[in-house]
């Protein structure tokens, strides 16, 4: 089933949770909605499920207007973070629920339901849990049952809300691979919500990064990692060190920064901001350099350095502890920062504008030191 979402907005009290979401999902695709809490990703998922309703916008699935369809009639599978299993029913009864509540005319016979449940138990590799109650299961087992319950109705669309959020790391990885397998076997269109980048990139065909009620970027792991579309995505993807630079003819310069490795960019002249990951900063000792090392902590494999610039404040860098020059990186050493990779955004009011003569004041960085 292909899903087309356009112009979706939603307000809770005084907060805009969704601010014009446009998204298309192809049949059989596995898509991750990735974003920090409060980005609107769960609300979007619940709107697709029919558990929330948007204020404006459209939601069409295979050409059908789903905003005119109640959740009961959409035939979706929804998996909750905290499983939401029915505690008074055995695993078997939980799986059978969706089939047993069908209107009499469409309801399969008891033996057919039982056979279908057996098949599912086997498919999900949980045969041995059939006669247990949810309280007798571990978190990972519960989530398998929850997914099985959703799959039992052969959903057109499978929706998962932070499906592994409540599980520990090892089980998470395990279930991730398992879910990928289930997706490939069923071929259902699947959308899942997560705030875990690794999970999103490992599992999904396409990742939709959401921030503040809007889609910030859609792409695969490499694209989003190397070419974040907005400062928000850059920060969210771990480029938390933010440094002011001056752009001139597509080249960037900054106080005590070596930006020679960064490729030339088609950005307007003037002020810009560089977003970089701590591990992409290599401090190079240099007597006259403006940055100073404030502190040095070892995490075993890496050294974490806090650097200070008299005007710009602090930045953090992470270098391999066994790197060649690591010994020279002692507190109070003067360093120049070599930026291995990073993203620059123009500070011009409209960065898409092609006018090179925008009246933005370049920050005088070199004056310090």
């Amino acid at each position: 089933m292909s899903i087309t979402i356009s112009g979706l907005t939603k307000r809770f009290a005084k907060t805009d949770v969704l601010r014009g979401v446009e998204l298309g999902v192809d049949k059989g695709e596995l898509v991750a909605l990735l974003g920090p809490s409060g980005s609107g990703k769960t609300t979007l998922l619940k709107i697709i499920a029919g558990l929330e309703w948007p204020d404006t916008g459209r939601l069409r699935v295979d050409g059908q207007d789903w905003l005119k369809l109640a959740a009961q009639d959409r035939r979706i599978g929804f998996v909750f973070q905290h499983y939401a299993l029915f505690p008074h029913m055995k695993v078997r009864e939980n799986l059978a629920f969706g089939l047993s509540v069908r209107p009499r005319a469409e309801r399969p016979g008891k033996t057919i339901i039982a056979a279908k449940v057996d098949e599912l138990l086997h498919f999900l590799q949980i045969d041995h849990l059939a006669d247990r109650y949810p309280a007798q299961l571990s978190g990972g087992q519960r989530q398998r049952v929850a997914l099985g319950r959703a799959l039992a109705i052969e959903p057109k669309v499978l929706l998962l809300d932070e499906p592994f959020g409540a599980l520990d790391a090892a089980i998470r990885r395990d279930l991730r691979r398992w879910l990928r397998g289930v997706h490939e076997a069923t071929g259902s269109t699947t959308i899942f919500v997560t705030h875990d980048q690794e999970e999103a990139f490992e599992l999904a065909d396409r990742v939709v990064v959401m921030g503040e009620g809007q889609i910030a970027q859609i792409g695969d792991a490499d694209t989003i990692h190397d070419h974040p579309a907005t400062p928000f995505v850059a920060r969210f993807m771990g480029a938390t060190v933010e440094l002011p630079v001056t752009l001139l003819a597509g080249r960037a310069e900054g106080a005590g920064l070596d930006l020679s490795t960064l490729p030339r960019r088609a950005l307007p002249d003037g002020a810009g901001r560089l977003f970089v990951r701590a591990e992409d900063i290599t401090p190079v000792p240099e007597p006259d350099a403006p940055w100073r090392i404030v502190s040095r902590t070892s995490t075993g494999a890496h050294l974490r350095l806090v650097l200070r610039h008299p005007k710009l404040g602090e930045a953090e860098a992470e270098v391999p502890r066994r790197a060649v020059r690591a010994e020279a990186l002692t507190p109070d050493a003067a360093v120049r920062l070599k930026i291995e990779a990073g993203t620059i955004f123009s500070s011009a009011p409209n960065s898409a504008a092609t006018q090179p003569s925008l009246q933005t004041k370049p920050i005088q960085l070199e004056r310090s030191q």
């Binding site: 499920a49 029919g50 959740a71 009961q72 929804f78 029915f86 629920f97 509540v101 069908r102």
Partner: protein, 276 residues
């Protein structure tokens, strides 16, 4: 495994502790258990026959019947009300939700006699609705409807109070899951919501029954205490006592006590179930 009280070595019990435990047990026996035993002692003071004769007295039988029928009407209605109110408050957001929660609890803080008087002023002959009721030949006050209404008022919060916290703690994810699986409203209620609140509901119903059976103040205002007609069991006990028929009064009281004890036992069993 034994756990020692705070700041003590295991096996070491202080004298102060013993005195406190003794005091608690002693006071419970003196103020709660002793009167209960005394009721039965007095009821059987003149032997089985006298006791049976008193119980089987038409006026007493009528009082037992009236109290029973009142409970039979009131408890299911309040179970329905309790579920509806708890459902509305726990699973929905609407203006005035907080006020509704407070309103449900009002019968707990108002003396039942006030409720009785209010109903008298509303439905009585000189009351607000009196002329209309009279014109349509409906007797509310000094009759079963009045007794039922007041008892309902007094016992209204019991079920809601038990069910509400449970429903709030459970949230509505299970219901949402059921919706996405295609269940309709009735299926969700009977197959998901109700099983989840089953024990709390029964517990509330038992408390509600015990209170309905024992209600005195409010009923005494609206019933008119007509012997053999509008006299409920608690009112009958008082009447017999005022008649100086001690054995009769205690015999009637013993049936009330019995109901209370049975309710208590059921309540204890349900409490165990609810915890598991």
């Amino acid at each position: 495994m034994t756990t020692a009280p705070l700041g003590q070595l295991p096996g070491q019990t202080r004298r102060g502790e013993r005195i406190l435990i003794g005091l608690a047990v002693g006071l419970t026996l003196l103020f709660i258990a002793a009167p209960l035993v005394f009721i039965f002692v007095r009821a059987f003071a003149q032997g089985w026959q006298v006791y049976a004769a008193n119980i089987l007295h038409p006026a007493t039988l009528h009082a037992i019947w009236l109290t029973t029928i009142t409970a039979i009407i009131v408890v299911p209605l309040n179970v329905g009300f309790g579920i509806a109110a708890a459902w509305a408050v726990a699973k929905h957001r609407f203006p005035g939700r907080g006020i509704l929660v407070t309103l449900i609890e009002i019968p707990f803080s108002i003396s039942p006699i006030i409720a009785g008087i209010c109903y008298l002023l509303l439905y009585g002959r000189q009351g607000l609705l009196g002329p209309w009721l009279q014109a349509n030949d409906i007797q509310v006050v000094f009759a079963l409807p009045g007794i039922v209404l007041v008892t309902m008022f007094v016992t209204a919060p019991f079920v809601a109070r038990e069910v509400l916290p449970l429903m709030q703690a459970q949230g509505s994810e299970q219901e949402q899951a059921a919706v996405t699986l295609g269940a309709n409203g009735w299926q969700i209620f009977t197959r998901v919501t109700l099983p989840n609140i089953k024990w709390a509901l029964l517990y509330g119903a038992v408390l509600c029954t015990a209170r309905a059976v024992g209600e005195f103040g409010g009923v005494s205002v609206v019933s008119g205490n007509i012997r053999g007609q509008t006299n409920t069991l608690p009112l009958h006990v008082e009447l017999l006592f005022n008649d100086l028929n001690a054995v009769g009064a205690f015999a009637a009281a013993s049936t009330l006590t019995l109901i209370a004890v049975v309710a208590l036992v059921i309540k204890a069993i349900l409490e165990g179930r609810r915890q598991s």
